[in-house]
């Protein structure tokens, strides 16, 4: 902070920040889905066999 001045982002900076946040959220979402699906593909048989 600078001497108690109110700081605010301009519209372009706000937009850039929002897009970055969206990109991070989408990436994380994709990773969750990818790990979920890949775990089934990779270890599905092992999990099924250990249950039965």
């Amino acid at each position: 902070m600078d001497g108690g001045k109110i700081q605010q982002l301009g519209p372009a900076a706000e937009r850039a920040r929002r897009r970055r946040s969206l990109a991070i959220a989408l990436t994380l979402g994709f990773m969750v889905i990818a790990f979920y699906v890949a775990t089934f593909v990779r270890f599905g048989d092992v999990i099924t066999n250990s249950v039965h």
Binding site: L9, A12, A13, A34, F35, V37, A38
Partner: protein, 307 residues
């Protein structure tokens, strides 16, 4: 990154965009990494689950992008003083060094762990080796110290086919080493052709590229030697069953053109024609490698569909 203006607002221009972070990952290099790794994956013997294959390719691409970001973080000082690299996000002040470092580090760890856990640890270890080699061996150690930087450091760019092969087979074989060697032998003539017409840039920032240290004549000679070794080497995949007839034809024809351009670089030593010859070899070398691996990819895909 933010710069405060007089009115108390944060400077609008300095906020990094998604595009700046994508640029940190060297997207053009990533496309070549994806192509070479994918070609090797499809050419490798063994079943390949599409989900696992997709995750593997994304991990390899992100790992390559991460090493690009780490390279830009370390080389920001010289990038700022070279015409070719001055517009990168760090020299422009769009991304801070801390952001680039953390971005590269997180992606490096994430890509290696993902590849290791979901695919196999041989592929994961090779990806880790690639990133480490590119950052520590090439960027930090060799690049600013020796004219052999490109020769040895080129190994980092040659690893992706080995990773792709390991994704399917779980090991390293002669075939994957052969694909590695093709890119390894391709790298010096490719970068030295660039260095020939960007010589002053490298000289100004103190990077001991071959033309700066050994002179233009020796660089032209080395380009020719590597090209003579590369052209026949690139034909070998046909004889070990990796490539088909189309690959054979392409590797022979393109190899001869590559050699022709290398000879032209060797004999054209004066004036603007010398620069033009080097530029032509540089751009053709990109087309050459893309085409060879694209043909391998298509042939391997057709083989998988038919068998």
């Amino acid at each position: 990154m933010s710069v405060q203006s007089e009115v108390g607002q944060i400077d609008l221009i300095a906020e990094p965009s998604v595009g700046d972070f994508i640029q940190l990952m060297k997207p053009r290099v990533m496309t070549l990494v994806i192509l070479t790794a994918l070609a090797a994956m499809l050419a490798a013997p063994g079943a390949l689950n599409p989900v696992i294959g997709t995750i593997a390719i994304i991990s390899i691409a992100i790992g390559a992008g991460a090493s690009g970001a780490l390279n830009m973080w370390y080389d920001a000082d010289i990038d700022a003083r070279m015409a070719r690299t001055a517009a990168r996000p760090l020299p422009r002040g769009k991304v801070t060094p801390e952001e680039a470092l953390s971005f590269g580090a997180v992606l490096s760890v994430g890509s290696v762990v993902t590849l290791g856990v979901l695919v196999n640890w041989v592929a994961g270890a090779l990806l880790a080796l690639t990133i480490a080699f590119y950052l520590f061996v090439y960027t930090m150690w060799l690049k600013r110290r020796t004219p052999h930087n490109i020769v040895i450091g080129g190994a980092a760019g040659a690893f992706p086919p080995m990773i792709g092969w390991a994704v399917v087979t779980g090991n390293v074989s002669f075939d994957s080493v052969l694909l590695f060697l093709i890119i390894f032998m391709w790298t010096p003539p490719h970068f030295w052709a660039l260095a020939l017409y960007r010589c002053r840039d490298y000289e100004r920032v103190g990077v001991p590229m071959l033309p700066v240290v050994a002179g233009l004549r020796e660089t032209r000679r080395q380009i020719l030697i590597y090209s003579v070794l590369l052209a026949p080497l690139a034909v070998v995949p046909y004889f070990v069953g990796l490539g088909g007839v189309v690959y054979l034809a392409c590797s022979v024809v393109l190899g001869l053109i590559f050699l022709g351009l290398a000879v032209r670089v060797y004999v054209t030593t004066e004036g603007r024609e010398a620069d033009t010859a080097a530029r032509q070899l540089f751009w053709f070398s990109i087309l050459y490698l893309y085409t060879l691996f694209a043909v391998l990819l298509v042939e391997a895909t057709v083989n998988r569909i038919l068998t």
